[in-house]
């Protein structure tokens, strides 16, 4: 594989010119992908995972050459390239699944032929994933699972869920967890939509009652699920990036860092010095967060590890909550309203509530500050009361 960059570039462009005719938009983040036909073609041509070996339908390209592939796809707007960096499911399966299972599942995952969801969080274990109480008990040919999961996106259309469950109750909590691909389409798995405070239902609760997992669907060693989870979470962070969503309404006024400035002008409030101070501060935080991220990326590109990367989520949390406050101030009584006839109010109120998606979801701000304090600043950890005792004896819930 010692193709020159130019040869590679030419090959991709020719391939895209011959094959790319557009696909339907993908609206649901986690369900079965309506673009499967196209994705299968990308996979079979070796563009889906160019860094992987040919055995796994890749091309064994260097990182720099793989980026040429990604850029060529991005240029024409074609999806599906570079999943070796972005496909959480395929990466996790490739790294940890049994030989027989991954031969089947990885190609399907690359083509979006199976829908996936995450079954980590439980009602009794929010920030504390290691406190999982869903149980998987060994039976002939596999496991029987019983428990409850929450905050699951895409569960209604998923074929498999990446599940953590407890397989040993007599060891400390991190050491008795296993990681599975749970078949979702079976009796014993019930999915109920979870109504959020925003009055939407992007998430589900999943009730699992004596559901079956075949032997080959175990990922990593039995009771070694905590390690698998850590690598999956690392993938997830790199995939999902900043999960904060913008205003809900499409018509809610100007966009961009200085959208607030436009809103203040629209609302006739830009002459108010108090408003100007608050608007300036929120815009400043947005810009500072972008500058931080850019600096972190530049430092990473130079091979220096950057302490800044981990600050983005915490920064965004403050930005969103504070922007909600300022939008409310700008709108005054109009902020009392909601619904499609009142898009600016809808945006302010949605942001007020949805800001918690960032400040709570994926680890609360409080957990994030722990991580920054410990992993970035090197401050000592808190004494952990439950790290060494058998999970049975840990108080939870």
């Amino acid at each position: 594989m010692s193709m020159t960059d130019e040869q590679l570039q030419a090959e991709i462009e020719a391939w895209l010119a011959a094959n790319w005719k557009g696909v339907p938009a993908h609206t649901e983040s986690f369900g079965r992908d309506p673009r499967s036909e196209w994705l299968a073609k990308v996979r079979d041509a070796g563009w889906a995972v160019p860094r992987w070996s040919a055995e796994w339908q890749g091309r064994g390209l260097s990182n720099d050459q793989a980026k040429i592939v990604e850029r060529a796809f991005a240029k024409v707007g074609a999806p599906g390239a570079g999943q070796d960096r972005s496909n959480l499911w395929a990466n996790t399966a490739l790294a940890h699944a049994t030989e027989s299972f991954k031969r089947t599942i990885v190609p399907q995952l690359l083509a979006g032929e199976v829908g996936m969801c995450l079954l980590y969080s439980e009602p009794g274990a929010g920030s504390d994933l290691a406190a999982v109480r869903t149980r998987a008990d060994k039976v002939d040919g596999g496991w029987r699972v019983t428990g409850q999961k929450v905050w699951t996106s895409g569960a209604r259309v998923a074929d498999y869920g990446m599940l953590i469950a407890r397989t040993d109750w007599d060891v400390p909590k991190h050491r008795g967890i296993s990681f599975f691909f749970l078949p979702m389409k079976q009796e014993g798995v019930e999915v109920r939509p979870l109504r959020q405070i925003t009055d939407e239902a992007h998430f589900n609760e999943v009730f699992i009652d004596n559901a079956f997992i075949p032997e080959e669907n175990l990922l990593g060693p039995l009771n070694g699920g905590w390690g698998v989870l850590q690598t999956a979470l690392a993938y997830e962070r790199s995939v999902m990036g900043d999960a904060a969503r913008g205003p809900r309404s499409g018509a809610g006024g100007p966009k961009g860092d200085d959208a607030l400035l436009g809103l203040a002008r629209e609302a006739g409030r830009l002459g108010d010095p108090v408003v100007r101070q608050d608007v300036a501060q929120v815009i400043a935080w947005r810009v500072l967060n972008k500058l931080n991220t850019a600096r972190a990326k530049a430092e990473l590109a130079q091979g220096t590890s950057s302490p800044i990367m981990s600050l983005g989520k915490l920064a965004m949390s403050r930005i969103l909550h504070e922007e909600a406050r300022v939008r409310t101030m700008l709108l005054g009584p109009e902020s009392l309203l909601e619904g499609p006839d009142h898009p600016r109010a809808e945006d302010a109120n949605f942001l007020t509530l949805n800001a918690y998606f960032t400040s709570i979801g994926g680890g609360t701000d409080q957990i994030q500050r722990n991580i920054i304090g410990e992993r970035v600043l090197g401050l000592p950890k808190e004494p952990e009361v439950d790290r060494t005792i058998p999970f049975r004896e840990v108080r939870a819930g």
Binding site: P123, S127, D128, G332, L336, E338, T352, V385, D386, A396
Partner: protein, 355 residues
């Protein structure tokens, strides 16, 4: 519930401490019985947002006519008692037009049916007390024209009382066009009210400021009560909920937020009660006290509700958890007579006037 308010013996406007405690207790018991979270959700989800049976019970207890003069059949009590009752109402997010009733009792004590709740009043402040900045109601001969915006309780009101710079007017529901508004806080309904016909003049402008101030005192009490209850709910959760093998309330991150919120909610309570007392006693510093309560209670409730959700984590991100109902209520109250920036400005102005 057959309780009825202890009537004051000595003073027509102020109860002693024991009678006050009995009043609060009777309201609390009624609300525990009739306004549990399920009731709030039922009423909130109904089209009108109003529960006539609950309203009738409040009337029987004497709460609707609490500050109406005894001569008009009211309890003849004052801002202090109103504030304490509203603390109870706020704690359970009572969806009932009590603030409107209190304001109406000041502006229109003689309108029939208001004291016992058999008729419901809504109040539109227009002109210099228009907190929406968006109403354009004018007097044109003996007719009112224009639209009053964001009028609380207007859709269920039998009569709209208009407090304008030209005096106080009463207009029957049948003589206005009411447009219910899609509100973010479904426990506090509002509507735009368009006037197009004759209005009955029922008073001059002299009582309008006092009525507005009474409304602020009532709202401040509601906010203080709401803040305290939201904190209680949060502290209880932080005590029960275990993560990492410990109650989450044992972590400083949660414990310290709770301590700060106690300062907020207790300060709100102090501000609300002081404003009530100063309004009752018509002190020279009452304007400042009312302005202080207006922003301190609004800000405290918003902050306690917001941080309280954060302290709960994911569970409070669900519709089924009551936390967001408190945040919605806090946000609606924070606009109701103008926002906190306006009232901080008014506070400074009042302090300058005192100096």
């Amino acid at each position: 519930m057959t309780d009825t308010l202890v009537r004051p013996s000595a003073s027509p406007t102020m109860l002693d401490a024991d009678d006050r405690a009995a009043l609060v207790d009777s309201v609390r018991r009624l609300l525990a019985d009739r306004c549990a979270e399920a009731d709030v959700r039922r009423i909130m989800d109904s089209e009108s947002g109003h529960d006539p049976a609950l309203w009738q019970a409040l009337g029987e207890l004497g709460v609707i006519g609490l500050v109406a003069p005894e001569a008009a059949g009211g309890a003849g009590l004052g801002p202090i008692e109103l504030g304490l009752v509203m603390e109870e109402a706020g704690a359970v997010l009572l969806p009932a037009p009590l603030i409107s009733a209190a304001i109406a009792a000041t502006l229109a004590p003689d309108l029939p049916g208001l004291v016992d709740g058999s008729r419901i009043a809504a109040v539109a402040f227009v002109g210099c007390h228009d907190w929406t900045g968006r109403s354009d109601v004018r007097l044109d001969g003996d007719r009112l024209t224009g639209t009053a915006r964001f009028v609380p309780d207007a859709a269920i009101a039998d009569v709209i009382i208009v407090a304008s710079d030209e005096g106080v007017f009463a207009v029957e529901h049948s003589d206005v066009a009411v447009t219910p508004l899609p509100v973010f806080d479904r426990t506090r309904r509002m509507a735009d009210v368009s006037f197009r016909g004759p209005a009955t003049r029922i008073g001059g402008t002299s009582r309008i400021k006092a009525a507005r101030d009474l409304g602020i005192v009532a709202l401040a009490g509601e906010q203080a009560g709401g803040a305290r209850r939201m904190l209680e709910i949060t502290v209880a959760y932080a005590t029960d909920r275990h993560q990492f093998g410990r109650a989450i309330g044992s972590f400083q991150a949660i414990k310290h937020m709770a301590a700060d919120l106690l300062l907020e909610s207790e300060s709100a309570t102090s501000a609300a009660r002081d404003a009530a007392r100063q309004l009752a006693e018509a002190t020279p510093t009452a304007d400042a006290a009312i302005a202080l309560a207006a922003f301190a209670c609004a800000d405290a409730f918003v902050r306690v509700a917001k941080d309280g959700i954060q302290m709960h984590g994911g569970i409070a991100f669900t519709w089924e958890h009551p936390a967001h109902l408190y945040l919605r209520r806090a946000r609606s109250g924070a606009q109701l007579f103008g926002d906190s920036n306006l009232w901080r400005e008014n506070y400074i102005t009042a302090l300058e006037a005192q100096a």
